[in-house]
Amino acid sequence: MKYRPKSLNDSLDPLKGNVNISPEHPLKELLLLTAAIAAIIFLSYLLLGFSVDLVVPHISMEFEKSIAARMEFPTAADSRAPYLKKITEELRRSTPIDTGHVEVGVYDSPVPNAFALPGGRILLTKGFLDVVESENELSMVIAHELGHIAHRDPLRGIGRSLVLAFISSLFMNTDDSVGAFINSSLSFTQLGYSREVEERSDHFALETIVKHYGHGAGAADFFKRMKETNLSAKIPEFFSTHPGEEHRIAYLERRIEEERLGWGALTPLPENWENDDD
């Protein structure tokens, strides 16, 4: 038997006839894998997020408060705080759903904003208190945060962040870049969820102040102010956690008209509405 060497290579295409390499194009593989993994993650996020919604109503407010006790409540000294406390107590009597005891504090930030925290805590920024012009406007914002508390949204938020942290830590082990990629895609799905929650809270707030004042005047004032001065206006609604101001104002005014909630006189803020502690 004679040994006749014969080349297995194709001189024109070096990869032709190579049985050891999958013929699939790497970019096609990348696309397919990315799509498959994104689908898996999205589904597991939805499932886990859904289970958070199932569990939250079964968690008592006491337990939520005990979780919150370990979290910081960064309040600043402000002479308007007693008034805020008083008005929050009054508003609580008009809410459609009971919120339980609520603590309200002032947060030292020049940006007009308000937050609901786990454990029935509300923070209003100094920036917000400085620009607010009527009690109705102030009440609307407090009632909006009361809405979050009544619906247990801060607790849901913790649950969802846990789910996020869990999923991303699963993938972080595999590879840093994969984890980063997954994180950025997850925060998108988080946004859609938040907007729904904000709308529910707006609705809750409107009901509350209509019951409290007997009319809906001033309900949209804060959003109008935000729209005028707005920095966030440049962010398209899709990318934002809150519905666009335009959208919210239209929603509130439409409800006031349709349900004949009426427009009344605005209740003024107390005299000397400036912070004396500065």
Binding site: R4, K6, N18, S22, P26, L33, T174, D175, V178, A180
Partner: protein, 159 residues
Amino acid sequence: MNIDFIIFISLMVIGYTAGSIAERRHFKSLTRREDATLRQPVVTFDEGYELPSGAKYRRAALVSGSAVVSIDYFKRFLASLRFLVGGRVGAYESLLDRARREAILRMKYQAGGASIIMGMRVETSTIGGRRKNNKGLGSVEAVAYGTAVWVDEVSPQIT
């Protein structure tokens, strides 16, 4: 756009472009050099080989060749996605193929003019793999080794 994402995309593009160009060139060069060394016989068996009549062993020596090929960022990302779902890691297949063939070629060069290389084996290992922070890029090393045999008078029956 966050900066991490931009860095990630650039690394992917660099990895893919540079990686593909290097790979295509390497395959071309492998093909050319393999065809050029076609007349250097290499076999995997090490016994049962009969010398042609009248031939005499002159010398035998261990010959080896090794090659290290690095993965690129793109391949690594593709492979790590693959690790989540399983299946053939196409991104690494070409890498191993290149390393193995390069190693065999280098072994042939070391044997330089031997009548035959017998009992050839190829082994593969990874080097410089993951560091603790998971940022290390791995490389693959292939080693090919065998016994080069020089025979006097008659060359093995190669036409």
